[in-house]
Symmetry: C2
């Protein structure tokens, strides 16, 4: 485990989830669309200068969620998983613990619960990212979860306001 | 790993799934009902003299699948998981990798894909049980998967023929 976790105590230290929440001045439906339409998702899903040149979304339980991420030096990462639950305008749940057909991944890492709730004319946007182990949560945090998801959410917010 | 696995070679040795398949002389719908109605499931789900005095089924993706098993010496095991997919009359998929709300289990073990297919006036019944690791598949086999699921399937078959 990285050095930084040694000072953590109590619940945070044992937690298996990372949470990002933000009040966004855009309708729930716009945020849901930005998560579920390929042409929109590609515009915000990775912090620039990284891009998403290709994505596939099959919006049903067990349906493919595939994103291809490209870095400024030509790096390429393919992420394949499945959706677990879709509630239009309210919730998107996905994981990399399975591929379509429900074959389990050998190294499951995250399960993300994205919710959109009306709050005083704006939208309470929450990304709750679960890990199967505390070690995976620690590793994800050390990989830069808060910075990376924060910047992507800035891009999501800017896009949603235009929809 | 148990001694028995050392003689396995090739795909079987590396496989993460266990499969039980049987041609059953009962309609698909009867088998589906036996899997999805609490009062029926309790009658066949564990090999006698074990019983299932209590079960809860919430038939939707992310819905609770809870069974309580009792042994002849008073042993008690609670198994909690969720359904991942339900296709009426055709398919039931569940796992112990999550509890409702999509919180991942700390020790996910199985993901089971149960299918019912029409075959020459009978039903091709297949239980495909995936594990996240080869070690878990080996352990499940050593725990008596084939004997246990085989006897339970005998009970399922007998019940389905009466429906």
């Amino acid at each position: 485990m990285p050095q930084t976790t040694q000072t953590e105590t109590g619940l945070a230290g044992e937690s298996r989830e990372l949470v990002l929440t933000r009040l966004i001045d855009a309708p729930r439906e716009a945020l849901f669309r930005a998560w579920t339409e390929v042409g929109l998702l590609k515009q915000w899903f990775t912090p620039r200068p990284w891009t998403v040149p290709f994505a596939e979304l099959d919006l049903k339980p067990g349906g493919l969620f595939h994103t291809q991420m490209r870095g400024p030096e030509g790096e390429k990462f393919d992420n394949r998983g499945v959706f677990l639950e879709i509630v239009p305008g309210e919730k998107v749940v996905f994981t990399d613990a399975y591929v379509p057909g429900w074959e389990p991944a050998e190294k499951p890492f995250i399960t993300a619960i994205i919710t959109f709730e009306e709050e005083g004319g704006k939208t309470r946007y929450t990304a709750r990212v679960w890990h199967f182990t505390v070690e995976d949560r620690v590793r994800h945090e050390a990989m830069g979860f808060h910075d990376g998801w924060g910047k992507a959410t800035d891009q999501l917010e800017a896009l949603a306001k235009t929809l």
